[in-house]
Each structure stands twice: as C-alpha cells, then as structure tokens.
Symmetry: C2
Amino acid sequence: MTITTATLDEDRLDDTFAALANSTRRAILARLAQGEATVNDLAAPFALTLPAISKHIKVLEHAGLVTRGRRAQFRPCTLDATRLAEVSDWAEQYRHIWDDRFDRLDTYVRDLRQIHDQKEPHS
Amino acid sequence: MTITTATLDEDRLDDTFAALANSTRRAILARLAQGEATVNDLAAPFALTLPAISKHIKVLEHAGLVTRGRRAQFRPCTLDATRLAEVSDWAEQYRHIWDDRFDRLDTYVRDLRQIHDQKEPHS
DNA sequence: CGCCTATTTTTCTGATTGGTTAATTAACCG
DNA sequence: CGGTTAATTAACCAATCAGAAAAATAGGCG
C-alpha cells in the first residue's frame, strides 16, 4: 500500500520553483555544478553583501538543492541535483504538448498533399 | 552576428519559475493541458475567489505560459508550453550531475578494489 | 433599455522577499 | 590569550504576493 504524498510533493515543488526563481540563486547552482564551494567563493562574482548570499544559500538549502559540510570555519556547499531531476520530470509531463506542434505541422503537410493529390490524382 | 540575450533569458526564467512556484497555478496549467478553459472553469476546483484566480491567470499570462482568446464575454485560456520546454532544457543542463551518482559509485567501487589490492597485492 | 453572466479592477490586508548595516558566533593562527 | 577570517544572526526597509471584499466593466439576451 502506497500512501499519497501528493500535497507534500506539491509543497516541495513550490519550494523548488521558488528557489529557482532568482537568477543569483541559479548562478550559484551553476557555480556549484563545477564543484563544492565556500560561501565566500560563491559570493565573489556578485555585487551583493555576504549576508545576502548567505540568505540565498539558505533558501537553496531549504529547498534541498544544496547541502553543506563543515570544515574548520568554512561551510562548503554542494549541489544536490535530485530536485532538479524532479523539475525535469515535472516539465516533461508537458512535452507532448510542445511536441504536438510537429504533429500539427505533419497534419498540415498531409492535408496539403491530399488537396494536391485530389487536384492531380496521378502526379 | 548573434547579439547576447543572456539577461533577457535570465529574466524570463525568473518569471517562469516564479509563476510555477505555486500549486494553484500549476494545477491551472494541468487543467489547461486537457484543453482550453474559461476563467470560471479554471476557478471551479478551488476554494478561492474569482479575483484570486484571475490574478493567478494574469501571472501565468505574464510569464508566457498561457495565452487568452476572447469569445463573447468569455476569455478562454490556452496553455503555451514553449516556456515549459525552456524549463526542461534548463534542468537538463544538470542531468549529468544527477546521473553522475553512478559514476561516483563506480569510483567508490574502484577505490575499494584499489585498497583491497594494496593490502593483498597479488590476489 | 435593464438584467444576467463573465471577468477585471480597486482597495485593503498580512506575510514573504531581497536587500542593507551592524553585531555576533565559530574556528583557526601566532 | 588576542587577532583574523568565515559565516550567521538581528534588525530594519521597501517591494511584492496571495488573498478577500466590493465595485466596475464587458458583452450577450429578453
């Protein structure tokens, strides 16, 4: 028996998408895709104060997109891509819709051909 | 020559992800995946007032996720999945990371073997 | 025209967000 | 111990968000 976790999943997607809805945070993820980094490392490219970055990281952490270690006075951040896989899966649900354009184009071409064939049945 | 649209793309992703960061809005998209619907149709399943739904639709529209027609006093909504394809593409950038787990497991096994071999060089 | 239905705009909440500066904690280094 | 570096917390601000209620607009329909 599998109990339903629908609302939990939905809540998690809320958090994930909210975390991704900020270009600073997405840039942080991009940086972390290259490998582990400290808060200072992550802050370097931005014209933002350290506390601002610290907050962004906390949002990403809360969304389960990054995890943090502890080495001396550093708190190295690591990307956890599990949630990104969920985002991908979620979006893929709709693939048939954006792919349908091709189907419709197909139909269009087929219809054109049919009209053409009706005009000149044996061309 | 291709001019850079990096920040524009980033802004668009901000809007897209922000629009998706709400389960009501995602439910609206799910409903629209079944086909066109009016604002009242879309509002029906929710314990929310019509203006609330109207606002949600406006957010989705602003993010380019839905487009609306005009038939009499109805404003039928249609899903435009182009942005969802962009979301999918964005997430796919990170696929190698969530796939890498297998690689890392590989490495782990290889390391174990190496340690084992060092202990018993000719086993 | 006046009514009914569909939808939006306005106005008002309380909560959240993204940012700041200043102060604080944590851990190392001499 | 005192100083330095890494990072967080606290307190604050302006802007945005999600919702409600009430009023306004838009377009048939009798």
